[in-house]
């Protein structure tokens, strides 16, 4: 059982499903001969042929439309958008058709399709390669938005996404593509979509995050523990639909909540989580709901990127503010 990175886990999950389900096809820009700019589809075309691993033109609207058509006819397309910043030409297809086909046809047609896209900053790339715009799709009913935070979850959730009868937007936190490895058995065991993972149990404060920021969040929990503050850490994993019950249950226990996200603060997934907590558990709160997030600005160029990204100290600081709130 080899130790593999998050990106290799994505590859392994796609290969597994292609092996076991002939309806699964993969396409996108550079996914075939090149193997994907981040190597997500490395070796797939050699293994499964040009008919199942298809290089497309640079035309995201076409990629999304192709996926919808295939899925409506019973295939299981896994389409790659090379960077999430390039997804907007495809947004009309995704939002106006993909998300609502089941509803529009009164359940006669469902779209078992996945749209993959690397997202998030911190890799010294230009701004439209660095955004965290998950909230845009989390807002759209009919789409599931899944964000793995580690290799095992990438494998398990990708399998579940491909097998899901409805469309899944699968966002890969590229900053942590290769930051750590997990030993993963290629056994086809999927992880539950639509559920949070409680990665650390605690009693004083609930730290809620997803994707790449889980790494900073877990480190912050360690630091808080050293100062005698017991933090519960929740990996949201599916930002839509939200498993809000797990979050509420935790907040009820700890009385404090801090949401950590890389995205800009306004109108984000963190806003929705904060609103749910305020709406349903305000009487359990011992302090205001805290948020650590990116700034409401375009992700800056390389030199200021470090200033933009939320850091471990920010999380620790905010958690302490909530602990000391009177």
């Amino acid at each position: 059982m080899a130790a593999i990175t998050l990106i290799e886990a994505v590859n392994m999950a796609m290969a597994h499903e292609m092996e076991h389900d002939k309806e699964v096809v993969v396409f996108g820009e550079d996914v075939g001969i090149n193997g994907g700019v981040f190597r997500a589809t490395d070796g797939l075309q050699q293994k499964f042929g040009e008919e199942r691993v298809i290089d497309t033109p640079l035309a995201e609207a076409m990629i999304a439309g192709l996926a919808i058509g295939m899925a409506a006819q019973g295939m299981k397309p896994v389409a790659e958008i090379q960077f999430m910043g390039f997804i907007f030409p495809a947004a009309d297809h995704i939002i106006s058709h993909c998300a609502r086909m089941r509803n529009r046809t009164r359940g006669r047609l469902t779209l078992p399709m996945v749209i993959r896209a690397p997202f998030g900053g911190g890799i010294h790339a230009p701004e439209n390669h660095s955004e965290s715009t998950e909230a845009i799709f989390a807002h759209i009913p009919g789409l599931k938005v899944v964000i793995p935070s580690n290799p095992s979850r990438a494998y398990g959730l990708m399998l579940a996404a491909i097998r899901d009868p409805d469309p899944v937007i699968f966002l890969e936190p590229k900053r942590v593509y290769r930051i750590e490895k997990h030993e993963i058995e290629d056994n086809g065991e999927e992880y539950p979509i639509g559920m949070c993972f409680v990665d650390r149990e605690g009693t004083d404060i609930t730290l809620i995050s997803w994707g790449a920021m889980m790494h900073e969040t877990k480190q912050a929990a360690e630091k808080l523990a050293a100062e005698g503050i017991s933090a519960e850490v929740i990996d949201v994993a599916t930002v839509s639909p939200l498993d809000i019950d797990t979050i509420l249950e935790s907040v009820e226990k700890t009385g404090r909540a801090c949401i950590i996200q890389e995205a800009p603060k306004a109108g984000a997934v963190g806003s929705e989580i904060a609103a749910e907590i305020a709406e349903k558990r305000v009487t359990s709160l011992l302090a205001p709901i805290g948020r650590v997030s990116g700034y409401d600005t375009v992700v800056p160029y390389y030199r200021l990127e470090k200033q933009y990204m939320p850091k471990v100290e920010h999380i620790v600081e905010e958690a302490k503010r909530l602990m000391e709130y009177r």
Binding site: D30, N34, G36, V37, F38, R39, D42, F83, G122, I123, H124, A125, P126, H129, N150, P151, S152, R153, K174, R175, V176, Y177, R178, I179, E180, K181, H182, E183, I184, Y191, P192, G194, M195, C196, F197, V198, D199, T203, D204, G228, I229, S230, D235, A237, D243, D245, T246, K253, T254, G255, V282, T283, S284, L285, L286, A287, P288, Y301, Y302, R303
Partner: protein
């Protein structure tokens, strides 16, 4: 620095207690040398060293409970040293006083390194597949001593500005080029003078430092930017995934018995439990009380429902929420409740739902007591899990009868009980058996291994007298004595507790006449011996004072018939009623 985290010690349990350290800080330990004795639910286990090296820190004292995955021991050596534990401590390695030459105030690194006279660092491919890059700014000067991974220079490629980190902990001898110069990939960038250790294997500098094309990141030719690369292998939190799946399927985890390695619950177990209807709410759950560790007062604010504004209001007025009645929606305390408590504290106390103080007008003073729940660990937790499993699977039936032991000489009764079980197992082997209710398999044992239930402050132990059928009374006594001592010294091993084919519970040594002892699967029977008593009995000779021993035999009715159990009990009585 290397750390060794507590591994799963083979029980699938979340933690273990330090019984005794076998090494000290500063000790040089060999690979596999035992470092510490740890006690889990079932056994005391020696934990061997995974490295050869010097111990710098022992994380915990005897008696401390360490969670699986937490740091147990820290070893000498750090990221800049060779990753191989052998070379880190090998006395033959050349010592380089690299740290002593540095201008930094950092503590000298206690590592041995390979001395290198000079070392040239060539510009690596910065992740664009482009032939060259421009120096934007040097971040270090010649003569500087660098730490591993310390940024040396900002280089601009076609698409991004990238910081190039130092691949060594070493002193800079020469910088090749100035700001604005274009350096070709593969050309010299920095020459190190007194090189420190070579780059650690565990973390590739970002981006890859080698110009050797085999070492490039797989996507070096096409990717934009620089993705950080790490080779650290991290363990997935399997329990987080299992709990998430259980919540999704609404399965009550407390009713799920794990079938994975070391009894771990697997995804299949959860799905099976769903099929078996072991859902949340299908069994009454005890209320869970969470207390905040940072709240020092005896009032847990989470015991009371109140909005933050009401809490602030109560704080301003100096009113404890425990003194307020809760007249808001769903039992919340309102601002009016706080005001009422502030104006007439005495009257509000009486109606406070969670008031902990007495309202007596005179007499004894009020006593406030705060008791917090404690996590059940170790042997006691194992008992809880074992009993729950037994209760969920076994179909128990208990037979009760007395044996007349008037004729006994003064002797150790425990050895007689064991002998009676052995005797009865020969007459009726069906109760000296194992049973698997899922596969419907039964294994009737040719030998008798008697488990003895032993009460201890830690919880219930059931050590086993193996091959009781080939031991005489003295050997049985010797084994019982050995087991008692082991329990007292926390020296009971897993082997001592495995393989029992039938169990004896001598609760009568404390109190109790009859009982309904719990069969421990896969075993199918347990004999409980109660407290013996003198009883007036009608015999052929008239009324006699007889010494009676009450017996309670519980058997799993899935595995044995009532007839088999009754015959077994009769045989037990027959053997017990022999004078010797």
């Amino acid at each position: 620095m290397k750390t060794f985290n507590l591994p799963d010690l083979g029980e699938g349990l979340p933690d273990a207690e330090i019984v005794r350290w076998l090494v000290k800080e500063g000790d040089l330990v060999a690979l596999d040398q035992p470092m510490v004795e740890m006690e889990t639910a079932k056994a005391v286990v020696e934990v061997p060293s995974p490295y050869k090296g010097t111990i710098t820190k022992l994380c915990g004292n005897e008696g401390d409970v360490i969670e699986v995955g937490a740091v147990l021991v820290e070893f000498d050596g750090d990221g800049s040293s060779s990753n191989s534990p052998e070379s880190a401590s090998a006395p033959s390695a050349v010592e380089t006083p690299a740290a002593a030459e540095t201008k930094t105030t950092e503590a000298p690194q206690p590592t041995t390194t390979t001395a290198v006279a000079t070392d040239v660092f060539n510009l690596p491919d910065l992740g664009e597949g482009l032939p060259d890059a421009e120096i934007v700014r040097w971040l270090v000067a010649e003569g500087d001593t660098l730490a591993l991974d310390q940024p040396m220079v900002e280089m601009e490629t076609a698409k991004a500005v990238v910081e190039v980190p130092s691949p060594f902990a070493a002193t800079v001898a020469k910088l090749h080029g100035q700001a604005g110069d274009v350096i070709e990939v593969g050309a010299a960038l920095v020459t190190f003078g007194s090189a420190g250790s070579v780059a650690a294997e565990t973390k590739q500098p970002e981006p890859a430092v080698s110009s050797d094309s085999d070492d490039k990141p797989a996507d070096a030719a096409t990717v934009v930017g620089a993705v950080e690369v790490g080779n650290k292998v991290v363990i997935e939190s399997a329990s987080a995934v299992i709990k998430a799946l259980a919540r999704k399927l609404k399965v009550d985890l407390s009713q799920v018995v794990g079938t994975g390695a070391n009894g771990a619950v697997t995804q299949s177990d959860i799905k099976q439990a769903k099929a078996d209807g072991k859902l949340i709410g299908s069994k009454p759950q005890p209320a869970v009380v969470a207390t905040s560790s940072n709240v020092s007062s005896d009032e847990n604010p989470l015991d009371f429902k109140a909005s933050p504004a009401v809490r602030a209001h109560a704080r301003r007025l100096g009113v404890a929420l425990s003194q307020c009645s809760a007249n808001g929606r769903k039992g919340t305390i309102t601002k009016a409740d706080v005001d009422a408590a502030a104006s007439s504290p005495a009257s509000s106390v009486a109606s406070a739902p969670a008031a902990r103080s007495s309202t007596a007008g005179g007499g004894l003073p009020t006593v406030q007591v705060s008791v917090e729940p404690q996590t059940v660990r170790g042997v006691r937790r194992a008992m809880a899990m074992g009993m729950a499993k037994a209760h969920a699977t076994v179909v128990p039936t208990t037979l009760m009868e007395d044996a007349d032991i008037t004729s006994w000489p003064k002797q150790d009764s425990l050895a007689r009980y064991v002998r009676a079980l052995v005797f009865a197992s020969k007459i009726e082997p069906a109760l000296n058996a194992w049973f698997d209710g899922e596969k419907f398999e039964r294994l009737v044992h040719p030998n008798v291994h008697v488990g003895i239930a032993v009460d201890s402050p830690d919880g219930l132990y059931v050590p086993v007298i193996h091959n009781a059928d080939s031991k005489d009374a003295n050997q049985v006594r010797a084994r019982v004595q050995e087991l008692r001592e082991k329990i007292e010294n926390k020296g009971l091993k897993q082997d001592d507790q495995q393989g029992g084919t039938i169990t004896l519970s001598n609760f009568g040594s404390i109190a109790g006449r009859y009982g309904t002892p719990v069969v421990s699967p896969p075993q199918v029977a347990i004999l409980g011996t109660g407290r013996f008593r003198n009883e007036l009995k009608l015999t052929a000779k008239g009324i006699e004072n007889r010494k009676m021993l009450p017996l309670s035999l519980t058997f799993d009715h899935r595995a044995c018939t009532g007839g088999e159990a009754a015959r077994f009990l009769a045989a037990v009585i027959e053997d017990l009623q022999k004078p010797l």
